[in-house]
């Protein structure tokens, strides 16, 4: 008999039918009687003092039921306990174009728009700063974006692990370079929406497109000054998140404040332009990187400096900049590293967490650097990586614990599948192949709000219908987490998945789960499901054992039966076992929790909290491209990706996650960039901020590597983020292989390629006798 009945098999998502029939409900699809439409008033200035706000005329407009300003919601909030610098509506000054000043709720969208136009706001513009390097030089406290953040530095971290000076002294090849990454955003297809319903019992029910219902409940409690127990947050279907819904977004608070003020239901749905300005995406990053290796290619030391353009508020900022530094580690063996990270405030929308949070731009720089160093050392890029592998299980220089490590197999699998050996350096001019690797956490080992509480709890109920109901706080956002949890419970209880109903992400019904971010759900909620299902199975086995006259330990649950493993004929159907157990104790209830083990929680230095994870996923990729040397036009043809997900509980959804990650990495690599001019976004629409269509997106071949993590549920680790970061440097490496220029600035546009080709030609022109190394990059 196969080892498993349900897990390891491709299973369509449990909500697939709701999605393909159009009957599934997203927040903006919800309508309740008496519902008002909410609209928000945004700042037209990037930095200005608010002199006066007068809402009298707006309030007088018939059909307007509430107008809210900062006076109605003075309490500050923010996703991090150290970053409570946001208010839903500003009262003293605005800090970016799009900052929030007021909101109205009216009986129609048209009336709400008219009312916004009637709100009078007087501004006194202040000098604004848009570049992080310039922002760090602002000396006048009057001009700082937040008065308590000197020179606009939100946070800085300085880490040294190992003997960096000795490492560089021992290095035989040292290379240093600056890298740049433009700003990108999530662009989930569903614009944010929130429906806040004021209940007659003076309670608030909030339906929202969120990845973090529990943090939303907390924040609303703070801002609305109501106990959490009187606020219910429900997450309907969510049309993609990618991090853009992983902290509280102003419309969520605005809708609640308006509903409370109007004592009516209020729905706010952002326009796509508002989504772009709400943002919280991946920041502009300046990276200075220096790496030393021995002649044999062993890394001896790393020095990295990161400056991130965080925008006007803290958000997840300190976490982003810490991920950039701490996840330099846990992929290769790095004996010594120095990291200086700066999160800087500018007068633009706040950046935040985006898929691959904090790791992507630094990984781009690091993998590009390996490509350069491989050439300098005369090594194949795959070989250089082989020479720097970790010996897992191990603990890194910065105290990250690595329990399972499929990277070596990932590298070999993509080398083989892509035809690497026959292609690298051997394709005709204009065509190239490149390689890179990446990794990511399977959930953060330390919660955002530090505590020893479990990160997630799941309970299971079985009653007389023998149906199994799983109550989980975990947030399905399209990644398939509901399905994975159903599969785990079905496997343990030996039942068909159809027997299970999952109730998820409703703070009134489901126990706390911290949310869908940092790729934590399969690992954490999955482990809680495993424990809950095992506890329930114990109850069933005890009752069945009495009936069958055998020891509970001898029983097995499989294919809707509970039977003795020594005598499979001695059996009860699942229904019979449930009925027997119910006689003894009534409704069956079981619980499971998950908290990362102490050993996984990392070191004690300042900033050690970010980066530790119970397990890391790994990815290796090759990209095959062609470049037109006349125009610089870059076409990515094929990406081969191998992702170590521990165990593929559902190969269908794991592949979907891996391919989606590659897709998003591809978009950032070649065409996505938020273009700013004096704090105004030049491309705030999907027409101008071009996420890739079917025509540009390369064919992606995914390979799943299963390293069997000792602590993952059935060995599983994360699958939804870890493959994103490798795509960018793999493409950069392929561009070099194709035409011999290195583009270390994202996105890799035709303009940049063409300029680099022209520069290369200009340099080559004076002396035709320059060295002509055998490497592909040097091909004429």
């Amino acid at each position: 008999m196969a080892e498993f009945s349900v897990i390891g098999k491709p299973m369509p998502m449990t909500d697939a039918r709701a999605k393909v029939t159009g009957l599934g409900k997203y927040t903006d699809d919800l309508v309740v009687p008496g519902m008002l439409v909410g609209k928000m008033l945004h700042s037209p200035y990037p930095h200005a003092r608010i002199q006066r706000i007068d809402t009298t005329r707006a309030e007088a407009l018939p059909g307007v039921k509430a107008v809210a300003t900062g006076r109605d919601a003075p309490n500050p909030y923010g996703i991090l306990p150290i970053g409570h610098d946001e208010r839903v509506f500003q009262t003293d000054k605005v800090r970016y174009i799009g900052d929030n000043v007021a909101a109205v709720a009216a009986t129609s969208a048209e009336l709400a728009e008219q009312a916004l136009a009637l709100i009078e706001v007087e501004y006194e513009p202040l000098p604004a700063v848009f570049d992080p390097l310039a922002a760090m030089q602002v000396e006048n406290p009057e001009h700082w974006i937040h008065s308590n953040k000197p020179r606009n530095i939100e946070k800085e971290y300085h880490h040294v692990f190992g003997d960096v000076a000795r490492g560089f002294a021992e290095a035989e090849i040292v290379h240093a370079e600056r890298f740049y990454a433009g700003e990108v955003t999530h662009a989930a297809m569903e614009p944010h929406a929130t429906l806040a319903v004021w209940e007659p019992e003076e309670r608030l029910t909030v339906y929202s497109s969120t990845q973090v219902p529990y943090y939303l409940q907390r924040t609303l409690s703070n801002v609305c000054e109501m106990p959490m127990s009187r606020i219910r947050v429900v997450k309907p279907l969510v049309g993609g998140g990618f991090g853009g819904k992983s902290e509280v977004i102003p419309l969520e608070v605005a809708a609640a404040v308006l509903a409370k003020k109007a004592r009516r239901p209020v729905k706010i749905t952002y326009t796509r332009e508002e989504v772009f300005y709400a943002h919280r995406g991946r920041p502009i990053s300046y990276i200075d990187l220096k790496v030393g290796i021995t002649r044999e290619g062993r890394i001896t030391a790393v020095e990295a400096r990161m400056v991130q353009d965080g925008g006007a508020y803290c958000g997840y900022g300190p976490v982003t900049v810490l991920y950039s530094g701490n996840l330099l580690h846990a992929i290769y063996d790095i004996p010594a590293a120095r990291y200086d990270g700066y999160r800087v405030l500018t007068n633009k929308p706040a950046c935040g967490a985006m898929r691959g949070h904090g790791t992507v731009n630094m990984r781009f720089a690091f993998e590009c650097m390996l490509d350069v160093l491989a050439e300098m050392a005369g090594l194949d890029p795959a070989e250089l990586r082989r020479r720097n592998l970790l010996r897992a299980p191990c603990v890194t220089a910065n105290q990250l614990r690595v329990t399972s490590y499929g990277l070596p197999e990932c590298i070999e699998r993509v080398v083989e599948r892509s035809g690497w050996a026959a292609k690298r350096g051997k394709l005709p001019f204009g065509r190239g192949i490149g390689m890179a690797c990446s990794h990511y956490v399977s959930g953060a080992a330390n919660p955002i709000i530090r505590s020893n509480l479990p990160h997630t709890t799941v309970y299971i109920k079985v009653d007389r219908d023998a149906g199994i109901t799983v109550y989980t706080g975990a947030s399905e956002i399209g990644q398939g987490s509901d399905t994975i949890q159903v599969q785990i419970v079905a496997e343990v209880l030996g039942v068909r998945p159809e027997r299970i109903r999952l109730v998820a992400a409703d703070t009134e019904l489901t126990p706390v789960d911290l949310g869908s971010y940092s790729s934590r759900v399969t690992f954490m909620a999955g482990n809680a499901c495993l424990e809950a299902a095992r506890n329930l199975r114990t109850q069933l086995f005890e009752a069945a054992a009495k009936k069958l006259g055998c020891a509970p330990e001898a029983l097995q649950a499989r294919e809707e039966r509970i039977f003795s493993r020594h005598d499979p004929q001695r059996a009860l159907s699942f229904e019979e076992a449930v009925a027997t157990a119910l006689e003894a104790q009534g409704t069956l209830v079981a619980k499971g929790t998950y908290a990362p083990p102490e050993e996984a929680r990392g070191g004690t230095f300042k900033g050690a909290g970010v980066g530790p994870s119970p397990a890391y996923s790994y990815s290796a990729q090759t990209a095959e491209v062609s470049v037109d040397p006349e125009t610089g036009q870059l076409t990515v043809h094929r990406i081969v990706v191998a992702h170590d997900c521990g165990r593929a509980l559902n190969p269908l959804t794991v592949e979907g996650q891996v391919e989606g990650s590659v897709y998003m990495g591809f978009g950032q690599a070649v065409q996505e960039e938020m273009l700013w001019r004096n704090g105004r976004l030049m491309n705030p629409s999907l027409l101008e901020y071009r996420i890739p269509t079917t025509l540009e997106t390369p064919l992606i071949e995914s390979i799943l590597v299963e390293s069997q993590d000792p602590e993952g549920p059935f060995g599983a680790k994360e699958a939804g983020e870890g493959s994103l970061a490798a795509t960018l440097p793999a493409i950069a490496s392929a561009v070099y292989d194709a035409v011999g220029v290195r583009i270390h600035s994202l996105p890799i546009t035709p303009e940049k390629i063409l300029a680099a080709l022209q520069e290369k030609q200009r340099r080559a022109a004076p002396s035709q006798t320059g060295n002509s190394g055998g490497h592909s990059g040097g091909r004429p």
Binding site: A16, V20, Y26, G239, Y663, L686
Partner: protein, 173 residues
Amino acid sequence: MEKILLQLRVNGETRQVAVPPNKLLLDVLREDLGLTGSKRGCDDSSCGCCAVLIDGTPMLSCVALAASYVGAEILTVEGLAPPGELHPVQEGFAVSGGAQCGYCTPGFLITTKALLDRNPHPTLEEIREALSSNLCRCTGYMQIYESVRLALERWAQAPRAAGARPSAAEGRD
């Protein structure tokens, strides 16, 4: 703005709505007819989430005035198959991972149906070309191609079975 009375043919039924003459078809479908399957993903007709078939041609309902389509056969995702059944295209997307978050899915289903109605044996390149009007942020499109392939297979297995080919053209005649 004063409302006008419109008779619309939606999913094979005649529906009457009283709406302002400038109301968009997408908003009429969602707000007046309760057909929330069609989605709004952008402000500028660039995402394809709101695609519906109008006389068999995929159109963006977010830039169509409802009043312009009196007499036309409008097919939304809700009308692809009779209640309780799935059109082969829906089956393909449900089974092969074409729908992750699902927000773009109704638009993709509509565009795919239009493709298969006019070209029952599309090549991968023809599929990519046809679906380039719809954005998906989740899948990287690979499982969407796989979903279309499966839809073709299912369609071939059950040609013109109940609900398999409820094309707008047939509904009108």
